[in-house]
Subunit: 282 residues, 2 copies
């Protein structure tokens, strides 16, 4: 079949390379930056260009652009996408995307499924794209209709064909709530971490813990600001929660209260152990 990929950055470029490497599908692509579309063609990352005509040939369309650009692109192309086509986005938030794209899909007879690949790098752009970025990763899907098993089976097959190990189906609301914790808060905390005046003089004083805590401090501020604002209630709740927790340690330290400090540390340590256990809480 023919697959259309909109947005040829790290995520879209890697999708294109993955389908080219691991399947026999024809891959068309488009990036609003003409030079990137041309680069993708020259390097055989894509077989051709998605445009207002060729988009009708695509049975599967994957969007890997910012949320607002996803909505803008699909609004413009809605009438040109063939009925029955499956359209999946790869954005980091799902509520507002699904609220806007599901009605478009219904109106024009194609199928919209919110998607979010749990893979990435702290670099962006097609030059970092690789065919195995998704190997072993999880793909989250937020389909409107979870009872269409044939559709889910077909989509899961496509996703696993490029290396994804698992598909997690959930609602847009649940997705945004959990992703605020697992991904958005991680980026905020890491970005805040390096603002200490001591960050400038840490050489020779750091082992793995500092490196891990600050790995995702470097980020694309335009993309993340958009994702954070689209999910602000959930992210604010997570920031409030960790600030409250941090203050508990601070108070115990200020009071020289070893027992409370130990209890706080043990609680966190035990939670981490239970979460990581295969027989754990989740």
């Amino acid at each position: 079949m023919t697959i259309g990929i909109i947005g040829l950055g790290l995520i879209g470029g890697s999708l294109a390379k993955a389908f080219k490497k691991h399947t026999d599908h024809r891959v068309l692509g488009y990036d609003r930056d003409k030079a990137i579309t041309q680069y993708a063609q020259l390097t055989d990352t894509i077989d051709g260009v998605v445009d207002a005509a060729s988009i009708a040939q695509c049975e599967l369309i994957l969007l890997a652009v910012y949320p607002r650009a996803t909505v803008a692109y699909l609004s413009e192309m809605a009438g040109k996408i063939a009925p029955g086509t499956v359209v999946i986005d790869c954005g980091g938030i799902k509520r507002s995307i699904c609220e806007q794209c599901r009605p478009l899909a219904k109106e024009h007879g194609w199928i919209f499924i919110g998607g979010h690949p749990m893979a990435g790098l702290h670099h962006s752009g097609i030059k970092y794209a690789n065919a195995d970025l998704y190997a072993g990763a999880s793909m989250i899907l937020t389909p409107e209709n979870t009872e269409d098993i044939a559709l889910l089976e077909k989509v899961t097959g496509w996703i696993k064909s490029i290396g994804f190990a698992s598909v997690t189906v959930t609602t847009p609301e649940k997705h945004d709530e959990i992703i605020a914790f697992t991904s958005q808060l991680a980026h905020v905390v890491s970005n805040a971490y390096v603002k200490s005046p001591r960050a400038k003089v840490h050489r020779g004083f750091s082992a793995g813990s500092y490196r891990d805590l600050t790995r995702v401090a470097r980020l694309n501020e335009t993309m993340w600001a958009e994702l954070f604002l689209e999910n602000r209630e959930n992210l604010v709740a997570e920031i409030e929660h960790i600030v409250r927790s941090l203050k508990e340690y601070q108070t115990a330290l200020e009071q020289g209260d070893a027992e409370t400090l130990k209890a706080l540390l043990k609680d966190g340590s035990d939670r981490k152990e239970r979460i990581d256990s295969p027989y754990g809480e989740d």
Copy 2:
């Protein structure tokens, strides 16, 4: 020569194994848990036991026990350590240790140097000890006299002989200030991170950022509580700093202020980039 190692957990056990593997020195060891001392002998991790008699044979004594236990052990053994012996501890804080051990050393004619190996695992105990734990790591030293070049050269030679890549010499005060940021804060933040109610349901929703942020959440609460309390002013200052930073993002989110949010994220991202650059600020 003969080396004495006090405390045969992950750090001390790895020191013993490293000297046995990489040098021809005779390694004596001691752990207050008799079973561990016996295990270390049975497995040839040590060649014999450090006791009130054999300690006088050691030209180098390394302590890998908690700070208070370091002071207690050296107070008890001070008169039995041979004059001229170099004694280095491996504790995570240096001010209070050096304040207490330097006078002991002077009184009895041996040399005390505060030390802190920048290596570790989030597991503890001799069963995780390995001869290459220190390969490529940095060792921090806080000698009282930084002008005794012959001594520093000798000590650096011993340290590098077991795989350390570099030695960083600093004051106890500077060590405690920077370590509060690079190591202690990292453990507090990671331990606090997993306390969100969302931590229980994250499976399928997390990629590398969550994993990195929470890696050191599992910890030995008894050891860390002691280290944190011995360095509480510095650690409280770091917690206050990151809490203040986190609240800036929160306010920008609550106000829907995309420009401020982007500026905050860009500032963190730029700092991280400068810090990591070999031509950077430090």
